[in-house]
């Protein structure tokens, strides 16, 4: 018989070392007595007579991943047999049963699954039922302290959860099987501790939590069995709110009886008729009100400096809708002031439209970009983003009441029609529901064309579209 002595608690490193040695020597699990953990070993007296020490530098054992994961949780269990069971599992996995964990009905696998489940549940309950209390440091700094009594050796295993969640706080967790301390930078594992005195003495949030707990309970549904299944009594001692449970259960039937017996009472207050009537008038009533809403709203994709609102007067005959503000528009807060905007202004003039007489706006109100070094590269809005902004655009046009809407580029056409439009193929007059309209290209498309006859022709076509828009308005007027 070989005797392996591990440290108290969850000695994963010790177990790994021992396992490597045992596997290297091919020791049968029946030949090993393990000690360590909560219970003193029965085999404490047995020396490793005649067997010699385990090799210190045995190579790692290659195990199926699920077996490795199972070992990591099961070593946390307080069952003194855990190491022996795990050794047996490894022994079998290495002797032809590599997918042993799929044999759910196998007694060994089943027993280990139960241990695994118990540890997971314990971890989960510690994440759930541990309560921090704020303790005042002499220097007034925010610091938190908790006391918890887990069933198994899970204190180290639970640390990543608390560090991740409360990384920005300074806290200490004390338990009877070890402690954790986090100072916002590093984690320290400490020895077992005793329950600290007067934990929630001056923490008013602890009191607030108890009041909340009592208020959120519905006495008409009292069901203590269901509660105890998930929150067994053993946890109550460390949950401040649990002190109220007996009284809550006791008073529930009387509270319900009173509710059922109470006659329906006539309202004591007068019906707030005026307020109810006023409630219906919530839509923005003017363009200025709508613009205030747009300005206060957050961009859908974070990054933009500000919302760029439409420009021009209400009642303008022509509304021109672009895609979204660019880099320069984002900084200045005005539409069409960048290179594409300048090109648009020139083309409008050539088409006989005065820029100041038109209403200019964008389908999407915020600049979307990716940062490349110092430069902010424009990114087209997605169809979903266009739909987010569509409600505003429609309201906006509703206030402006143009006689005709010109859409520049595919995004604007999508916003007005709700479908994807091939601008080059479908350019020209198109109905947009309540408005008649003209579809044309976006001036930034013209800027991207290589200089030459093709680009010149494209510009002339653009001006022609705008001219047609003007003629449609004049014809209709």
């Amino acid at each position: 018989m070989r005797h392996v002595e591990l440290k108290d608690g969850a000695d994963l490193d010790g177990f790994r070392r021992a396992l490597r040695g045992l596997v290297a020597l091919g020791v049968d699990p029946d030949e090993v007595a393990w000690s360590g953990g909560a219970a003193p070993s029965l085999f404490g007296a047995i020396a490793e007579t005649g067997t010699g020490p385990l090799p210190a530098d045995a190579p790692p054992v290659s195990l199926p991943r699920p077996v490795g994961a199972l070992i990591e949780t099961v070593v946390c269990h307080r069952d003194p047999e855990r190491y022996a069971l795990l050794h047996r599992l490894v022994w079998r996995a290495l002797r032809g049963e590599r997918d042993i964990l799929d044999h759910h009905a196998d007694p060994l696998v089943h027993r280990l699954a139960m241990l695994d489940k118990a540890v997971r549940r314990d971890l989960h309950k510690m994440h759930a039922f541990l309560r921090f209390n704020e303790v005042r440091d002499p220097d007034g700094a925010e610091r938190y302290l908790a006391w918890f009594e887990p069933d198994n050796f899970i204190v180290e295993a639970t640390a990543p959860f608390f560090v991740e969640r409360f990384e920005s706080l300074v806290w200490t967790i004390l338990t009877p099987v070890g402690s954790l301390q986090w100072d916002r930078r590093s984690l320290t594992f400490g020895p077992a501790a005793a329950r600290p005195e007067g934990l929630d003495r001056d923490d008013r949030f602890a009191e607030g939590w108890q009041r909340y707990y009592e208020s959120t309970f519905n006495p008409a549904r009292v069901n203590p069995t269901a509660m105890r299944a998930e929150m067994p009594r053993k946890y109550w001692a460390n949950l401040p709110e649990a002190a109220a449970i007996p009284a809550m259960i006791r008073s529930a039937p009387a509270r319900v009886q009173a509710m059922v017996e109470a006659e329906a009472a006539a309202p004591r207050h007068r019906n707030p008729d005026k307020a109810v009537a006023a409630m219906a008038r919530q839509e923005p009533a003017t363009l200025a009100e709508l613009n205030r809403i747009i300005r206060a709203a957050d961009p859908l994709v974070p990054g933009a400096t500000q919302a760029v609102l439409g420009e021009g007067r209400e009642g303008a005959a022509i509304a021109i809708v672009g895609e979204q503000p660019g880099d320069q528009e984002d900084v200045e807060g005005r539409p069409f002031v960048g290179p594409a905007g300048q090109l648009l202004t020139r083309a409008l003039e050539e088409a006989g439209i005065e820029r100041s007489a038109a209403y200019l706006t964008n389908a999407v109100k915020h600049f979307k970009f990716v940062a490349r070094g110092k430069r902010r590269l424009h990114q087209s809005p997605t169809a979903g983003e266009v739909k987010h902004y569509r409600w505003w655009l429609m309201k906006e046009l509703g206030f402006v009441r143009p006689r005709l809407v010109v859409t520049l580029g595919a995004t604007a056409a999508l916003a007005l029609t709700g479908r994807s439009v091939s601008v080059l193929r479908e350019r020209g007059p198109m109905g947009f529901g309540d408005w008649s309209g003209v579809v044309t290209v976006h001036p930034s498309y013209l800027l991207r064309l290589p200089a030459g006859e093709g680009a010149d022709q494209a510009y002339r076509d653009f001006v022609a579209d705008l001219r047609q828009a003007r003629e449609m308005v004049e014809g209709a007027g």
């Binding site: 007694p107 969640r165 008409a220 269901a226 299944a229 319900v256 059922v260 809403i293």
Partner: protein, 403 residues
């Protein structure tokens, strides 16, 4: 936290508790890092249970219980004489962070009575979420109950900050809604569900964050005359058409200051329980609404037994099934076998021919399942067809309700 705030907390938690949902699941993983606070884990955590057996996961409060609407089933309707209170945006933020830092909650479930206008109210809700996220780097869970009468843009802004949005349908039929909630309108509620569902799908495709844990709703059962069949048909439509993540059922509960329009006595809590079981069969076990309803009588589920057993008892010709041979779909229909147990069975039987004691290790529901199962060493014989099978399987009824 001063006394005045404590009092408000009591009123506004009391007013919020009739919403059944408290789930904090389904969020994408996220952490607050060294400058923020909090994390979401995906599965969600229940930080306590109240003596009604319900999970306390989120700080579930109303921004205010003043309300201009007059929904008969609701304790906060304008004609009720309940005590009223109102939080400021800042106060909700402070409470959420305070409880969160003490590890009492996973986050916030915020809802509100309607004050001034639906838009004003919705904006206040949105501002709470935005302040938590943007000004405090809060990475915990946020569930906002949207006001369906608010403007679309406000609901869409809320989706930028929340993990989950919910829109309560409250009553299964449009007619009941008209009768009990005169200011509400079933068609527009569903239109908003459609809008939110569309935004969620688009955001997922375009890899943006918009209510990443989906949307949910709640229906009150037992306040109107809707049958279980019509409730389940509504749920089925909501799951299919609007991609809802969850439908919650809430047995109408007697409230202080009840309206005379409602029944004084609540429906048995068991009805709610059966609806949840039926809902699971619908979503994870391949049952149709018609099959589930056929297990009961005239559109109501059998309160005495769970809907899967009810279906099996009426379809005995399909049993017993062989645990070593039947396909997954059929195993899922065996009373007592849950989806997890079925998956383990399918995996384990590849290695060995399963006997009854093996099945017992994989499922805790063997007592019910054995009458419907063939195993290597077991055949139920005539048991499956015995006239008194139901009596044999059902423990004497336990009264859940206190009445």
């Amino acid at each position: 936290m001063d006394d005045a705030l404590l009092d408000k907390l009591e009123i506004l938690a009391d007013a919020a508790k009739y919403d059944a949902s408290c789930a904090s699941s389904g969020a994408k993983r996220r952490t607050g890092g060294p400058d923020g606070i909090g994390s979401t884990t995906g599965a969600g955590i229940c930080h306590a249970y109240t003596p009604d057996g319900r999970c306390v996961s989120l700080l579930k409060i109303l921004l205010t219980n003043y309300c201009l609407f007059d929904c008969a089933y609701c304790i906060n309707r304008r004609s009720s004489n309940v005590r009223r209170a109102r939080f400021s945006v800042e106060e909700v933020v402070r409470l959420t962070l305070g409880f969160y830092k003490r590890n009492c909650i996973e986050g916030l479930f915020l809802s509100s009575g309607i004050i001034r206008s639906p838009d004003y109210t919705m904006e206040q809700l949105m501002l709470v979420a935005r302040t938590l996220r943007r000004d405090h780097g809060f990475a915990g869970y946020i569930h906002l109950k949207t006001i369906p009468e608010a403007s679309p843009w406000l609901i869409e802004q809320a989706g930028l900050w929340a993990d989950r949005l919910s829109i309560n349908l409250e009553l299964a039929s449009d007619r009941s809604l008209k009768e009990f909630a005169p200011e509400k309108d079933g068609t527009s509620i569903k239109a908003v569900m459609g809008q939110v569902g569309e935004r969620i799908l688009e955001a997922k495709e375009e890899k943006r964050r918009f209510s990443p844990a989906g949307q949910s709703t709640q229906m009150i059962v037992g306040a109107d005359a809707s049958t279980d069949l019509s409730v389940l048909e509504t749920s089925d439509t909501l799951y299919r058409r609007y991609g809802l993540r969850r439908v919650y059922y809430s047995a109408f509960s007697p409230i202080p200051e009840a309206s005379s329009a409602l029944p004084a006595k609540p429906p048995p809590l068991q009805r709610e329980n059966r609806l949840y079981q039926a809902d699971w069969l619908l979503r994870y076990y391949g049952f149709t609404v018609e099959e589930i309803a056929a297990g009961g009588e005239s559109g109501m589920l059998d309160l005495g037994i769970d809907p899967k057993l009810a279906w099996a008892l009426k379809n005995r010709e399909r049993f017993p099934v062989d645990v070593n041979r039947a396909d997954r779909e059929m195993l899922l229909r065996v009373p007592g076998l849950g989806a997890r147990a079925v998956d383990k069975i399918v995996e384990a039987r590849r290695h060995t021919s399963l006997r009854l004691e093996d099945v017992a290790r994989l499922s805790s529901g063997l007592k019910r399942a054995r009458a419907f199962l063939i195993a290597a060493d077991h055949h139920p014989g005539g048991l499956t067809d015995r006239a008194d099978l139901r009596q044999r399987l059902v423990a004497p009824p336990k009264q859940l309700s206190l009445f």
